[in-house]
């Protein structure tokens, strides 16, 4: 009828050929997920033949279970440790790319407390989340001799930190320092754990092994498109991605997102080390092995597991998108 004739022909035909893909993040929409939203918003995914739905996570991470149960196709996992956990428990998940070369995990301290290296944190009361306790804090314990008794629970509310100068609080370099500065009016000191040897990957794309085996092409396209999205988000015009983030999460604003991108660039969170040559997404066996050893020493994972099961280099290190990085 008349109404059918109004539907644009292009959309009709292309919809048919697009592969439906769902991708779950581990938090609400924010700058740290910018590349994925960018790829969705600027049509990169579509260009790669993908019809992507991004399912934001929430305060409690449920999306990983949905991936395992087959309700999602990809999931954004936080760090390499999660990869080891999957192997430990024989869960057939595979990390296929990492978007962050450095884990953005930091400790914030009050400017009045002179802290210049990680050992200086030891006398302070540490505010660490339960996830942090089971992961990087174990590493701090084994590597730097931190004391569990100095830890207080952190529920992602910075109030106790602000009130008490003798505390240090965990956070992401890309957001908490900004929030504290905005609200409390002081600029906290920041120590990036990655700079002291905590060499976990972060913001990895994870999927089920059967998807890797049965539809490698789909996985490849999703990884490539996401990488391109990240290049655009970090270096290019990221207004489309930001618009989408702000729409999904009205608490986000331009200032905050700009801060996030600036910090990602300043600290080389997304693009540094291996990715300079191999492109965003780059992973290496050496680095995995090094992190695994550290986690074994920290007693977080068992030395007997075959951690190679948990990731594959098959889809990365192809220098996809390096041309998008501005040459300066």
């Amino acid at each position: 009828g008349v109404s059918a004739g109004l539907v644009p022909a292009r959309a009709q035909s292309s919809d048919k050929t697009l592969d439906k893909v769902s991708f779950g993040t581990n938090w609400v929409a924010e700058g740290e997920h910018g590349g994925f939203f960018q790829a969705l918003a600027d049509g990169t995914y579509k260009k790669y033949g993908l019809d992507v739905t991004i399912v934001p996570g929430g305060p409690n991470e449920n999306n990983r279970m949905l991936l395992i149960a087959g309700k999602l196709d990809f999931f954004m996992s936080a760090n390499s440790l999660q990869t080891f956990d999957a192997v430990t428990n024989n869960v057939p998940l595979v990390a296929v790319a990492t978007m962050f070369q450095k884990d953005p995990q930091v400790f914030l301290t009050h400017p009045e407390v002179k802290v210049s290296k990680i050992e200086d944190l030891r006398p302070l009361t540490l505010l660490i989340s339960k996830e942090g306790i089971t992961s990087y804090f174990q590493w701090l314990k084994s590597e730097y001799g931190f004391d569990e008794n100095k830890v207080k629970p952190y529920t992602f509310n910075p109030q106790p930190f602000i009130v008490n100068k003798q505390t240090a609080m965990q956070g992401y370099v890309t957001s908490e320092p900004f929030a504290v500065e905005k609200a409390a009016g002081f600029k906290p000191n920041v120590l990036l754990l990655a700079d002291y040897g905590f060499n976990s990957y972060s913001t990895l794309i994870e999927t089920r092994r059967d998807l890797v085996d049965k539809k490698p092409d789909l996985v490849q396209r999703f990884v490539d498109a996401s990488i391109v999205g990240w290049y655009h988000y970090v270096y290019g015009d990221n207004s489309a991605g930001n618009a989408m983030i702000k729409k999904l999460n009205p608490d986000m604003n331009d200032e905050l997102l700009a801060y996030c991108v600036a910090k990602m660039r300043e600290y080389g969170i997304v693009d540094s080390g291996d990715s300079i040559k191999n492109g965003i997404g780059a992973m290496t066996d050496e680095r995995m092995a090094s992190f695994f050893d550290k986690m074994v020493r920290a007693g977080v994972v068992k030395s007997t597991i075959d951690y190679h099961q948990g990731y594959t280099l098959r889809f990365v290190n192809k220098a996809v998108g390096v041309e998008l990085r501005p040459k300066n």
Partner: protein, 262 residues
């Protein structure tokens, strides 16, 4: 006599509330407490007004979940109690599961629910789990407190099970059931909040729980308090409505709802 009494009943809490606010404001000023630790009530109110569009939307979402959870808890609790009342065997075999449901942390089973249920359904199930037990427990207590002679009378007059239920057990248990509902009212609000945290959607279109958590992370403490204030008000209103319903239903016959000298 009656009208001034009622007025006091209404004005007194308001006055005490106002006094509480003044004290709060005074403390904040006296100790110079920063707004990111404890915002002054004035600031909270300002924030409430300023952020009304976003907060009211979240309030709506949470209240809807609360209502659904409450209805589910009320119906589920009463029906379960009636079922258990029909057969001791049923009660002995299944009551432990009701306890298990009560003590299961929603946070832990929300992921499982999300696998098998629609998200909105999962949220309501979570709210239900939090709120149903008081209704079940109180209704069970009420049903077993039915006057024996009255029960005998029903038996004598050949009342069917349904008749005994409708005309004897439910009315007799009503004060207890309403007591359970008054507890469940607040709990289903809490249940909605917990459910939102555990299984709700985040970002736009999310409820007060998310606002509170989010404002907490973002250190937007005034907004967090504004959201908490809304939650508290919602709780008081829910309780007030339930207490009023109780009063209207019981005032003509039950001890607990009678005036001093009637």
């Amino acid at each position: 006599m009656k009208s001034p009494q009622d007025l006091i009943r209404f004005l007194l809490p308001v006055a005490v509330f106002a006094a509480g606010l003044l004290l709060w404001e005074a403390i904040v000023r006296a100790y110079g407490i920063q707004p990111y630790v404890l915002p002054s009530p004035l600031l909270v109110l300002k924030t409430l007004v300023a952020d009304w569009p976003i907060l009211s939307q979240s309030l709506g979402v949470t209240l809807l979940t609360t209502l659904e959870g409450f209805v589910a808890a009320a119906v589920g609790g009463v029906v379960l109690a009636l079922l258990f009342n029909q057969s001791k065997w049923l009660e002995y075999s299944l009551f432990p599961y009701a306890v298990v449901l009560q003590v299961t942390p929603v946070i832990a089973i929300a992921p499982l629910l999300l696998i098998y249920l629609q998200q909105q359904t999962a949220v309501i199930v979570c709210a239900w789990i939090v709120a149903f037990f008081p209704v079940l427990s109180n209704t069970t207590l009420g049903l077993s407190s039915v006057d024996r002679n009255l029960a005998g009378l029903f038996q004598l007059y050949g009342a069917s099970r349904l008749q005994t239920l409708l005309f004897l057990k439910l009315p007799a248990a009503l004060p207890y059931i309403l007591g359970g509902l008054r507890i469940a009212g607040g709990l289903s609000l809490i249940g909605a909040v917990v459910a939102e945290i555990a299984a709700g959607s985040a970002g736009a279109g999310s409820g007060l729980a998310f606002r509170i958590a989010e404002s907490g992370y973002r250190l937007n403490i005034p907004r967090m308090f504004a959201a908490l204030l809304l939650l508290s008000l919602a709780g008081i209103v829910i309780y007030g409505v339930l207490a009023l319903v109780s009063h209207l239903l019981l005032r003509r016959w039950h001890e607990s709802a009678l005036g001093k000298d009637s």
